[in-house]
């Protein structure tokens, strides 16, 4: 029996990270008291007209560029007409005929291979108000009305839930790193609708749309459950209808919301209140140049610095760390990332702080990393002074001094300790000379133990080698 193949397309709505709304000057921030950030325009008040948030257009353009889209250099807005209480004007201003970007793609890694997921289009639109249903009443919060959104629509290019999840992770990473959106699915600043169909042949099956899934992992589950449901329907001789469903995390299944009416008609037509916008070559170029270094490029840099794959992904997942590392181009990034991902992150988590809340200046961090790199201080010392580094304005040298931390750099004293250790470990010297390199590490350990970690490791290493060779 041939297997059913899944075909998946995804529509993502992302709130743009702007100060103000798409078509008015109200603040863009709906996580506040209901109906606080509103004005006559947001309410669709008679006689009002939309203005265009240029920064929102810039962010959408940035997204279109990053998703490798063809840019519509002359674009306009359209009205999508329907009635719903959360839609103040009775129409939503969106882009139907001239989306800002078309025919793009996102590259994902799947089973060690690169695959392109086609982007059908990316367009700008405004969000609706938020309906809150309590008991037998519905409440409307217009803070969200007019919040700028981009909608990103893929081609039906994904064949499995893991491809869909990889696409979403990638998309999220891009939009987040370019500062286009917060991409917080749990807060609704990134929302995801999934179209799924199954078929045994090349001809695509009838698709259903599962709306507003709350997390990327739920997307994976929802796709599999929906495909399973469709298969059961088909196997029992039924047929799939075009319908809108939602995913219940609790029950791990998709639930019917409404059957799509044929010819659902939004009566799209051009929004005459907003003239055509022209994106000039210079402007597009400028926006392109403003795009920060994106994750894939950062990964390459980290790789060059011999940072492990695991740590690379850990850094990418924490944009503040990744951005912090951008401040340095001539330090040992491997050591730097180890510090940041290890002790510093642990400290920040414990203290519930952000890196920017600390007093760790770029200069200070550079000094520490360089000292560690050259072996001038042992890791232990770093651990001891970490809190001081992060909490005080003092320089590295001042901290070391104030804490009476002395790294034993006195050659004479070290020479004595080294020779004592060597005297007590005669057999090891012979072993070392017979080619067992790891013995050196053992001896180093002994010495560091003796000095309680305060010895300068590179100096110890140097003396140790010299003294062994004398014997």
């Amino acid at each position: 029996m041939t297997e059913y193949k899944k075909t998946i397309g995804i529509e993502v709505h992302c709130e743009l990270k702007t100060n103000t709304k798409m078509f008015s000057t109200s603040l863009n921030g709906y996580q506040t008291i209901a109906n606080k950030n509103i004005c006559a325009i947001d309410l669709g008040y008679p006689g009002t007209l939309p203005i265009v948030n240029k920064y929102a257009v810039e962010l959408a353009l940035k997204a279109a560029i990053l998703l490798n889209c063809k840019i519509n250099r002359t674009m306009h807005f359209d009205r999508k007409n329907y009635f719903y209480p959360d839609l103040p004007k009775g129409y939503q201003i969106t882009q139907a005929r001239t989306p800002i970007g078309v025919n793009g793609y996102v590259e994902i890694e799947i089973d060690g291979k690169t695959k392109k997921i086609g982007i059908h289009d990316i367009h700008i639109e405004e969000d609706t108000a938020k309906s809150i249903h309590k008991e037998d009443k519905s409440y409307l919060d217009f803070n969200r009305a007019g919040v700028p959104l981009i909608e990103i629509v893929t081609e039906p290019d994904m064949k499995s839930s893991s491809e869909a999840m990889a696409y979403l992770e990638k998309l999220k990473e891009i939009l987040y790193y370019a500062d286009i959106s917060d991409c917080k699915m749990e807060e609704g600043s990134m929302r995801c609708d999934v179209n799924v169909s199954i078929s045994k042949t090349e001809k695509l099956g009838v698709r259903t749309e599962t709306k507003n899934i709350g997390s990327i992992s739920s997307v994976g589950l929802a796709i599999n459950e929906e495909a399973k449901r469709q298969e059961e329907v088909l196997e029992n001789g039924g047929s799939i209808k075009e319908e809108t469903r939602r995913y219940s995390e609790l029950e791990n299944k998709t639930i019917l919301m409404r059957v799509k009416e044929t010819g659902n008609d939004y009566r799209y037509f051009p929004e005459a209140d907003i003239p055509y916008l022209t994106l000039t070559e210079e402007y597009i170029e400028k926006v392109k140049n403003d795009i920060p270094i994106m994750p894939n490029e950062r990964r390459k840099i980290y790789k060059k610095h011999e940072i492990s794959e695991i740590n690379i992904e850990k850094i990418i997942q924490d944009k503040t760390i990744s951005d912090y590392l951008l401040n340095f181009d001539d330090i040992n990034l491997k050591i730097a990332s180890n510090l940041l991902l290890g002790d510093i992150k642990a400290y920040l988590n414990k203290e519930n702080k952000k890196l920017s809340d600390t007093k760790l200046t770029i200069e200070k961090f550079k000094t520490v990393v360089n000292k560690l790199d050259k072996g001038e201080i042992p890791n232990k010392v770093f651990k001891d002074i970490l809190a001081n580094l992060l909490e005080t304005e003092k320089t590295f040298d001042e901290i070391v001094k104030d804490n009476n931390i002395e790294t034993i750099s006195d050659t004479k004293a070290l020479l004595e300790i080294v020779n004592n250790i060597l005297n007590n470990n005669e057999p090891s010297i012979i072993e070392y000379k017979n080619g067992h390199d790891r013995i050196l590490k053992f001896l180093m350990g002994q010495i560091m133990k003796e000095t309680k970690g305060s010895a300068n490791p590179s100096l110890v290493n140097k003396i140790l080698l010299e003294e062994i060779s004398k014997r």
């Binding site: 008040y45 009002t48 007209l49 007409n81 005459a272």
Partner: protein, 485 residues
Amino acid sequence: MSKYLSLSIKEINELLKTKKIKPIDLVNEAFEEIESNKDLNCFITLDKENAYNKARELENKEVDNILFGIPIAIKDNIITKHLKTTCASKMLENFVPIYDATVIEKINSKNMIIIGKTNMDEFAMGSTSQTSYFGPPTNPWNKNMIAGGSSGGSASCISARLVPFALGSDTGGSIRQPASYCGIVGMKPTYGRVSRYGLVAFASSLDQIGPMTTNVYNNALLLNAIVGFDEHDLTSVERKEEDFTRLIGEDIKGMKIAVPNFFLSDIISKEIKENVEKIIELLKENGATVDYVDIKYLDNAVNLYQIIAMGEASSNLARFDGIKFGYSYENPENLEDLYRKSRAIGFGKEVKRRIMVGSYLLSGENATTYYNKALSIRDDMRKSFKDTFQNYDLIIGPTTTSTAYNLGEGLDDPRQTFMDDILVIPVNMAGLPGLNIPIGFSKKHLPIGLHIIGDSFEEAKMYKLASFIEGKLNLELNPLKEVAK
């Protein structure tokens, strides 16, 4: 009492400056005139309290411009803060807005005094003002007749000399056609000249606010006051400041005038045609050249208008859903019932007809078949106008095919009244400025109007020609004086 409002604006200004009269005298006169001409039904709402307050406040201020202290009437689809704005609809019967339209801010900054809100077709949808929820305004030249529409109240109150200035709005002739029927001067400026912010939208790509006055000079003055780029209206246009009166009084010698053949075709009544031809002779005698030209698609204008205007209207009026503002049906069974009943009861017949037709025209394939096609023909029409203006200064013709007619007529045939606007609609389609001035009277002594069309932003040139004709004809345009004769 003295009739100051029938004096020229310069005379009134002089009297105010020399403190011989106060703004309150003008306000008193306006309200008295309105009171004694109640049968004209020009106003939906009067704003006595604020008008008197403003008049008193102005007594202590310097008379700093020629419109200072002058009463003005505002069409009731222009949003006025704290002053009921009904659009002549039950839907907005009790709607008191929270902001001022940009034109109102400009009027206020000139210290003009808003007297009240004028009657009109419901949501400006009509050509006779008979679709008003508050009953139609009537024509001062014959009170059994229509004032035209949709700015019928503004036209009627100017014609009857109740107030000297009014604002109207023009989507498909709604300033110029009633101006023609009532024998006044009405200008629809170039699309983008005047901010639409605060004009309750009918058809966004066509709507424009404009001045309605007794004479050309006043009209240019009011246009001076209301134009300008507005950051709240992206379709408004940034232009160098100009004085629209600046060409008034100049010689018309050498002016090149075009008359589209369609404008003198058989659809025009004989006496109107004769009057227009007289003007053509007058212009020729005074050194202008007049040629007959063809402009494409003029005969399709009504069809284009119906598709574009109704399509846009169906969307613009969607916000009146019974939830946020306007009429709301009490105790609906459910959400759908609230929508249906609020809109069924709140809107009048003509508005509902246009919403339905408009929705149909934008549905599914129709959007391509009709709406997009109309937009492309509209572009061609615009180009044809532009080509004409390569060789001519101005285009003229009659404003209407007939003079005003009896109240009650044209109500049975919704298509007929559109034909009243067949000559004025193309101007909206092309976004051009259009102006009506009275040029004579029919045998029944009803005003006949001349339509002057300019290239984009050529309003000053239009005023020049209009004022020349006005001066040559020197008609008695006060209907009350005519009746007294």
